[in-house]
Symmetry: C2
Subunit: 335 residues, 2 copies
């Protein structure tokens, strides 16, 4: 006994190829409803009609239209008009699935985090250029160490002499100097905007991270949580990774070096950015990273599979574990 079904109909066929029962859906003028049904078929689930018949006939082989195990039979085809609606439904579904990528927090985080990294890279490039350029234009000035402050004050000044007066040094004086200074100043403006853009991007990462991975964000901070998620390619995948992989996420290169040339395996990847790891004594970092990776595992699973959202208590517990790890290893191990 077979239960055959497609997006519109469901039929129960006896082993003697007799139609025992059939149901047809007539709502096919609703394109959205068709799209929903196509998705049901794509996911291998049952349409309401098939579901209904399957409940009534217990012991059937349930197969979608077109399956090779079905006996050859003149299955009922939908009317021509319905077929054109089916086409539209397929289109609609494609569009919907496309739009899902636009709202997928995994993709959104990926763009935000990568954009942040790129901005950091490009601002550093321009920053270095401007500082060098400034030290050429005002060779007598003591530029100090506050690069960001320097670039801000350049971006805000209007005249080549303005900074010279501020620093009580001579302004360069040659034909066209002002035009050239303007080029440098504009670059400082762009760099200054990039600083702000960096802040705005990080702010947005925080927003997405805290709503998408509340527990992990609480544990690692939203920025690091986002970075872990992007490194794993999605929250779903991060939630399925073993703790050992999470521990070295972001240190893939060092890990492959380890496999290839037998160098020491990495003790931590992105997790190093967490102050518990990065600011602990060198010889405890690996232990803390391993422990923390296990907790990351729990937190992200709780986020992904809809578990209880963590609160401060969880984090405090882990923090005290970190502290006891540090206390129990006051000295570097002897070699």
């Amino acid at each position: 006994m077979w239960l055959w079904y497609n997006w519109r109909s469901a039929i129960v066929l006896s082993s003697e190829l007799v139609v025992l029962d059939e149901e047809h859906w007539d709502g096919w003028k609703d394109i959205d409803a068709i799209a929903k049904r196509i998705k049901i078929l794509q996911q291998g689930m049952l349409t309401p009609e098939a579901n209904h018949l399957a409940g009534r006939f217990g012991d059937t082989i349930i197969l979608q239209d077109g399956h090779e195990d079905l006996p050859s039979f003149d299955w009922p085809q939908p009317p021509k008009e319905a077929l054109s609606c089916l086409d539209q439904g397929m289109m609609r579904l494609g569009q919907q699935q496309l739009m899902e990528t636009a709202t997928n927090p995994d993709y959104r985080l990926e763009h935000l985090v990568n954009s942040c990294d790129e901005l950091r890279e490009t601002t550093l490039i321009h920053e270095a250029r401007i500082i060098e350029w400034l030290s050429m234009m005002y060779p007598q000035a003591n530029l100090g160490r506050d690069r960001v402050g320097l670039i801000r004050s350049l971006a805000r000044s209007e005249q080549v002499t303005e900074l010279a007066n501020k620093w009580s040094v001579n302004a360069p004086d040659y034909e066209e100097v002002h035009k050239e200074w303007k080029v440098m100043k504009k670059l400082a403006e762009i760099t200054n905007m990039s600083y702000k853009q960096l802040d705005a991007t990080e702010h947005q990462i925080r927003l997405v991270s805290e709503s998408y991975m509340p527990s992990l964000s609480l544990l690692l901070g939203p920025i690091l949580a986002a970075r872990m998620c992007v490194a794993a390619h999605s929250r779903a995948r991060l939630a399925r990774l073993p703790a050992g992989t999470i521990q070295i996420l972001g240190a893939e290169q060092a890990f492959f070096e380890h496999l290839k040339h037998g160098s020491a395996p990495p003790k931590h990847g992105h997790l190093f950015m967490h102050p518990w790891v990065g600011k602990s004594p060198r010889w405890v970092r690996g232990k803390i990273a391993r422990m923390l990776a296990g907790k990351v595992c729990l937190a992200v699973r709780s986020d992904h599979f809809g578990g209880q959202i963590w609160d401060e208590k969880h984090v405090q517990e882990i923090k005290s574990k970190v502290e006891s790890l540090i206390k129990n290893h006051p000295r570097p191990p002897k070699r």
Copy 2:
């Protein structure tokens, strides 16, 4: 017989250590004049006093104060007051020499050309990010190939729906979408500013190049001329390089590969950017580059050593040489 001199005095001493003549300068209250004299000493030239005495006494050994070949003698020291002026003069000279770096066109070009290259690099990075981001936000849109145009229209739009309407596609719709879209739009604004900055920087390069290397700018175009100058580290050095080095300037890596591993030597470096080289048939490019490098040599020497400034006639002559080279080699050589 010796002629001893320092910044203030000059003395002619006989071999019996008798002062035959002496001259002293009393203008030492003028700090700028002192600075000028210190520079004269630094360059190993004669002060006016020394020059005067040297003209009168033909056959003397002329040595600056402090030289080890001088006999020990109680050389006249300047008055104390003059010594403090000397200190000030040294300071003044140091400052002046510092300020010279600020106006040195070699350094100025270096910053402009490098800044251009860096801007090109960073805009490409942000451009690629924005295009990917756009294709995530508007998955149904056909973004086409005009990346710069896309980024301009993003930078100019105000709402996430504005572009969606323009492209007749759906706008993404989720909480916070507008904030996230704003982050992307701001990045597009920065990138758009970087395009303009690139133009402004190139414009300034043109200005400097055309006044600093008029002949070379006429021959190669001001941008390529600037690049050659920066690659050689200064106009002075470019003017002293042999044509063979000029030909491969900018292809250093390929050249060292050639020396180390015996790969084919590079036929052209930055010169490839010139349409005469880059747009000629592959098998004539090397010949044209060699000929052109020789002409670059002449042009930059004319610029650096104050020769006649080239005009269109020079360039036309070279152009006809290029054309005859192409005409004489219509086919690739047989191997």
